[in-house]
């Protein structure tokens, strides 16, 4: 009985933490809230209200890239996979241009991220 209660509590806690919404709405993370420090491409890709790339991609070379999803392939050795960096940026700007059934969010086309934010993320991801 006691054990059952513990299980239930564990569930309740994870329910609060996840609030069932993997694409969390814009709750400002510390990165977005701190005005002093400049927001990096890494911040933008990790932030759930910005790129949220981890929702779908693992980043095996980043030890702090936790609870990554599996909709898309792991982001690793990107410069080898994309000799042309502009092509990779285009994938981020609108993945549906090359694959109409892609489930990746068209970050540029739908204005989810600004051009400048996409540039920063491209630089960060290209180095993975």
């Amino acid at each position: 009985m006691r054990k059952l209660h513990q299980v239930a509590t564990a569930f309740a806690i994870s329910a609060i933490m996840l609030s069932g919404n993997a694409l969390a709405q814009a709750t400002a993370t510390p990165a977005a809230a701190a005005p002093a420090k400049e927001v990096t491409g890494k911040d933008l890709s990790f932030n759930r209200a910005k790129g949220n790339c981890l929702a779908c991609h693992a980043m095996p070379t980043q030890p702090d890239a936790e609870s990554a999803g599996s909709y898309g392939p792991p982001l690793i050795a990107m410069s080898a996979r994309f000799p042309d960096k502009a092509k990779m940026r285009a994938q981020i700007w609108d993945a549906t241009a090359t694959n109409p059934s892609s489930t990746m969010i068209p970050f540029g086309k739908h204005g989810v991220l600004s051009e400048k934010e996409i540039d920063k993320i491209t630089d960060f991801v290209y180095g993975l």
Binding site: I16, T103, V112
Partner: protein
């Protein structure tokens, strides 16, 4: 003949047609359902069809074990009890729900949503309960209200536990409503550009962040759910939540769009057993 070959080719591609909502040309509700079952049983040969009623839990033995432990003494039992009282309390005219619903309200939930030829539209189980109230001089409940329709259906649906989902789509008007629901399910929406199918067909069994994604098969047989053990959530409320998460504006509960979506969606779970209510995190 040529069409048949093309359909065959499409299904051959591990059900890619239905995944993308493309092979709609001569699809019937039954072929849609069969194609989705084939898509998933090919992709996940180790998951049994009957386990799809557990949603995402079918892909995670640990969470399923926790679910089983919780379901032994469901934390929402008191809510079901409240629903039972509501169900058994006679209307002011002395009549009861059991008296005005088909088969006394037992083993019927799997027939809904149903296409009502006289009304020319899809009716959900909540609509039928409201019709019964109004016919007996009571006010209709707001179908969205957890304290009334929510609790009532949480109990009433237990009377159909074990019944196999049996949603019928017959005749041109019913088919039009089904196709409208299908269109909603496969259309991309919101700033984030997802269709229901992007997550629950193409990515069932995958993770979005740490969230395991449930496949569309088996989605409709266990409502309402109690999230976190005590938060009653109806099926259409879940639709609205999913739409909000992709930054789309959802039509309201009981709108023709959501009722048609529920009609299409429920037909895909035909043949699977109903069980109300269940725990979800």
């Amino acid at each position: 003949m040529k069409q048949k070959i093309i359909t065959k080719l499409l299904t051959g591609m591990a059900g890619l047609g239905i995944a993308l909502g493309a092979a709609t040309a001569h699809a019937t509700p039954e072929s849609d359902r069969q194609e989705l079952i084939k898509y998933y049983t090919t992709k996940y040969p180790n998951v049994k069809l009957e386990d799809y009623v557990y949603g995402a839990l079918a892909f995670d033995a640990d969470s399923k074990a926790q679910y089983d432990a919780i379901m032994e003494f469901p934390p929402f039992e008191a809510d079901i009890e409240k629903g039972r009282k509501m169900w058994e309390t006679p209307f002011k005219n002395g009549k009861t729900y059991a008296g005005c619903l088909p088969s006394g309200g037992k083993q019927i939930a799997g027939n809904y949503p149903m296409f009502d030829e006289a009304k020319g539209k899809v009716v959900t189980l909540s609509n039928v309960i409201n019709d019964c109230r109004v016919a007996n001089g009571e006010e209709a409940y707001n179908v969205d209200d957890k304290k009334t329709m929510g609790l009532l259906t949480a109990y009433m649906r237990t009377l159909s536990n074990g019944m196999l989902s049996n949603v019928k789509v017959e005749g041109p008007k019913a088919t039009t409503a089904y196709e409208d629901g299908k269109k909603t399910f496969y259309s991309r929406k919101g700033q984030l550009n997802f269709a229901c199918a992007s997550c629950h067909v193409q990515n069932g069994g995958n993770r979005l962040r740490s969230e395991l994604m449930s496949p569309v098969i088996g989605h409709t047989v266990h409502w309402p759910v109690f999230r976190g053990g005590d938060n009653l959530v109806t099926l259409q409320e879940r639709y609205q939540g999913c739409m909000k998460s992709v930054r789309a504006v959802s039509p309201p509960a009981d709108s023709e769009t959501l009722n048609n979506l529920e009609y299409f969606h429920s037909a895909l779970s035909n043949g699977l057993p109903l069980k109300a209510s269940v725990f979800r995190k």
